[in-house]
């Protein structure tokens, strides 16, 4: 625990030093401090996970009226671990990135605090402490999203959405916690856990759903997600990486914490709702991910998709726990945590690679990119590895984690009954559709962005990014590969962390060579073996071909069906790539399509110009949030008549109330 405080100190030193130091040393020192903070935190969390102990820290000197209460257990340590690992990579990345992106001191100043608050959230042990660190996390991230506001008009809008949604979420969490703490007459989480059974079902359900909505909105679950695809793309890439890779996890943490520890005995139907939300998020996120052409926006939507998968897993685990099948509940929740680890790493990688692409080309619009694999091979390779991971291709991390998730869901279907089973089946279908769509989306991203010919001068003149950025992305890419190849070691870690949730049951995993082999599953995977087999096959084929055929390759033009005018413009674009799926799911996506044909003056049979536009907006935003916004504005306009400037009207209000006072109070 104390190590964590030292790490906070290191971070703060870095951040304050960035205010004082000259431009030359500012970034270096701040990044160094962040990396150091990350290292200390990850060391501490690893040691906590391996020892399985819980340490606490209480102080009344801070936070008036409430005091701070902290408690570090293996579960929170796991979240800290993920956050710190990502923070280390991002810290290194920033060395190269910040230099060109912004001259202001603010991001370097705020970033360590953002990190610190993300460490504080999982170790908060009382309502007030939690809310304070939660809000600090929100505020720092809001400020970080604003970093590029001077260059980018959208970031203001994004921030506005983000701030509002995060505030609503916090309000929901706040009421939920208050219901819990007043129902149990306790402030501290550890005490709430003890006496949560004294709550009535209605209280519990109300608290659960308020908390769930709050946390789900932070995690970005549909329909509370609208801020996410706006804020994540607008933030500078290192920040997006942290937000998508680490901050979103804390929403998941909140859901797990609420449903599995704070409220000890949960109701089955809650989890069915949770699964439904998860499924909708997964499908909706994946769909929007497919149809968007802006890399970072697409990545943000895929975060929603992945969060959906995790929420489905949590729901299934909750159902298993209510059905007293704790063994598989534990397995399922470990799967969720594993998926989270994988997601954090590959999403961090993808966002950082996207940042690198933006850095070297100045654009993130897939329709303007192309041919990057030849121009910036190293960055492109990193992006490819990220894309393969997220598409769940073996042997990368996404495959292993989704395998565990799938097995968990399969087990849930086997072990549950009735409507619960149907719910999980529903979730599994969503999981399947989402994973298919994700693969499509990332074929689009890599295929359109990295392959083919440059579609604009942006991509034409791309140059490789500085070594620090490359190093950071390679680090993450390597982690993707390692997690994918030896998932056993990591699953063991997640099981140890989640053991806390179901202390009674123990799985006896057999993780030889990092493979996943559980006796209860009756199946196993060994990605390492698969990789070895694949490599052997690949090498043998190549050797055979080399031995048998010794012809050189002739380089020619692309075969465009004899078209004499083919150029980079005739390529498929990201928009056209997604068009079939967009058409299939038109009812959900509701794209704004517009075709304007203008004719020459003389005859309407001669076309002068055809303009086709295809805008896919977030339909949930359009049909849920925008009407609310409009209603509020209308109300405001109406209400402003109250204050029309007439002294007489103002006074007559008082007069009426005075009469009422005289009449009523005597």
């Amino acid at each position: 625990m104390h190590l964590l405080f030292y790490s906070f100190l290191v971070g703060s030193i870095g951040s304050f030093a960035s205010l004082v130091l000259t431009k030359k040393y500012r970034n270096k020192f701040a990044s160094f401090c962040v990396v150091l903070e990350g290292l200390i935190c990850s060391y501490e969390s690893l040691s906590i996970i391996s020892s399985g102990k819980t340490t606490t820290f209480n102080s009344n000197q801070l936070l008036p009226f409430f005091g701070i209460r902290l408690s570090l257990d293996p579960l929170s340590a796991y979240f800290i671990l993920i956050t710190s690992l990502l923070a280390i990579a991002v810290g290194i990345y920033q060395l190269g990135y910040i230099r060109h992106s912004t001259k202001a001191k603010t991001p370097t100043f705020i970033y360590p605090f953002f990190f610190t608050s993300m460490v504080l959230v999982p170790i908060s042990n009382s309502v007030a402490t939690f809310m304070a660190s939660w809000e600090i996390m929100a505020i720092t991230s809001i400020l970080l999203v604003l970093t590029d506001h001077a260059k980018n008009n959208n970031s203001g809008h994004a921030t506005q959405w983000y701030a509002l949604m995060t505030h609503l979420g916090a309000a929901s969490i706040f009421i939920g916690f208050l219901i819990l703490s007043l129902g149990t007459k306790h402030q501290q989480f550890s005490s709430i856990v003890m006496s949560s059974s004294s709550l009535s079902t209605i209280e519990k359900s109300l608290a659960f759903f308020l908390l769930f909505i709050g946390f789900a909105s932070k995690a970005g679950a549909t329909p509370f997600h609208v801020w996410l695809p706006r804020a994540h793309p607008q933030a500078p890439s290192p920040v997006s990486a942290m937000m998508s890779g680490a901050m979103v996890n804390l929403g998941i943490y909140g859901i797990i914490k609420t449903g599995m520890t704070l409220i000890k005995v949960s109701e089955g139907w809650w989890w069915i709702v949770v699964i439904a939300i998860g499924t909708i998020s997964a499908i909706y996120g994946a769909l929007q991910c497919v149809t968007n052409s802006d890399i970072k926006k697409l990545l943000a939507y895929s975060t929603i998709d992945n969060v959906g998968l995790m929420i489905i897993g949590i729901g299934a685990s909750g159902l298993l726990a209510t059905a007293k099948d704790e063994k598989f509940a534990l397995f399922m929740i470990s799967g969720v945590l594993f998926q989270m680890l994988a997601h954090s790493i590959f999403k961090g990688l993808l966002f950082l690679s996207a940042g690198s692409i933006q850095y070297s080309t100045g654009s993130l619009n897939l329709d303007q990119l192309g041919g990057l694999l030849k121009k910036i091979p190293l960055t492109s390779t990193c992006l490819l590895i990220g894309a393969f991971s997220i598409s769940a291709l073996p042997p990368f991390s996404g495959f292993s984690s989704e395998w565990v998730l799938f097995e968990g869901l399969f087990r849930s279907i086997l072990h549950l009954s009735g409507v619960n089973r149907l719910a999980v089946l529903f979730g599994l279908s969503g999981f399947a559709l989402a994973s298919g769509l994700t693969a499509t989306a990332f074929v689009k991203t890599t295929g359109i962005g990295l392959l083919g010919v440059a579609r604009s001068s942006h991509a034409e003149t791309a140059k490789e990014v500085p070594p620090t950025m490359l190093f950071s992305t390679f680090l993450l890419a390597l982690s993707c590969l390692v997690i994918g190849i030896v998932p056993g070691y990591f699953l063991k870690l997640t099981m140890k962390s989640s053991q806390l949730l179901f202390p009674a049951k123990k799985l006896s995993p057999n993780f030889k060579y990092g493979s996943i082999d559980l006796p209860n599953l009756a199946t196993n995977i060994d990605p390492l073996l698969l990789l070895v087999l694949f490599t052997i096959a690949l090498l043998m084929i190549l050797l055979l071909l080399k031995a048998a055929i010794k012809r050189k390759v002739r380089i020619t033009n692309s075969w465009g069906c004899g078209n004499e005018y083919s150029n980079s413009k005739t390529q498929y674009t990201a928009t056209s790539f997604a068009e079939p799926l967009q058409r299939v799911f038109a009812d959900v996506i509701r794209p704004d399509q517009d075709l304007v044909v203008s004719h020459v003056e003389e005859s309407r049979f001669y076309v002068n110009n055809i303009t086709y536009s295809n805008l896919s907006q977030d339909s949930i935003e359009r049909f849920v949030y925008v009407p609310i916004k409009r209603a509020v504005t209308t109300w405001g306009k109406f209400a402003s008549q109250m204050q029309n400037g007439s002294t007489h009207r103002y006074l007559s209000l008082g007069f009426i109330v005075l009469l009422i006072v005289i009449l009523v109070l005597s």
Binding site: R554, T556, N557, W559, G560, G562, N563, E564
Partner: protein, 158 residues
């Protein structure tokens, strides 16, 4: 019902005629077992196309000798060119030629491809096939008989 008639088709004798399997070709070499062509219409009146398609129909069935038409010159062993080379199709023809892997076989199918036929020297015509490419085989006729086409295919050797 459909399936029953299909089964009946399978059992009954094929309608193909003219050549029987394993009959000798005009060449002394072993017959070429697999030849694929990309068909290029550089200015044909479409009569040749009708004959080509019947060459691959049930009666003449060129596929039984391993012949096929493919969609991309990259997959082909050569070009099956019909019609006189028009100005507009000259470029695409050359592109198609370039896109074909070596060794390439160029077949001029029909009189127009061989000598320009009735379109010779007319407006918009660039020339005949042999002006622009080295023709390996010619199939005369206006239009050529399917049997002739299949015959030419069978005579191709490497």
């Amino acid at each position: 019902m459909k399936i029953v008639s299909m089964l009946n088709n399978i059992i009954s004798k094929p309608v193909s005629k003219g050549f029987s399997k394993g009959r000798n070709s005009s060449s002394s070499q072993s017959p070429n077992r697999s030849v694929a062509f990309r068909h290029v219409d550089v200015g044909s009146c479409n009569a040749c196309e009708i004959e080509i398609s019947s060459a691959f129909g049930p009666v003449y069935d060129a596929s039984r000798f391993g012949m096929s038409l493919v969609a991309s010159p990259r997959h082909a062993d050569g070009l099956l060119v019909t019609g006189v080379v028009t100005q507009n199709m000259y470029g695409p023809l050359m592109k198609t030629y370039e896109a074909t892997p070596k060794p390439k076989i160029i077949i001029a199918c029909g009189d127009c491809a061989i000598n320009g036929g009735i379109f010779k020297d007319s407006y918009g015509v660039k020339g005949i096939l042999s002006d622009v490419l080295e023709v390996s085989y010619s199939i005369p006729g206006c239009p050529p008989h399917p049997q002739q086409i299949v015959e030419t295919f069978r005579n191709i050797n490497r």
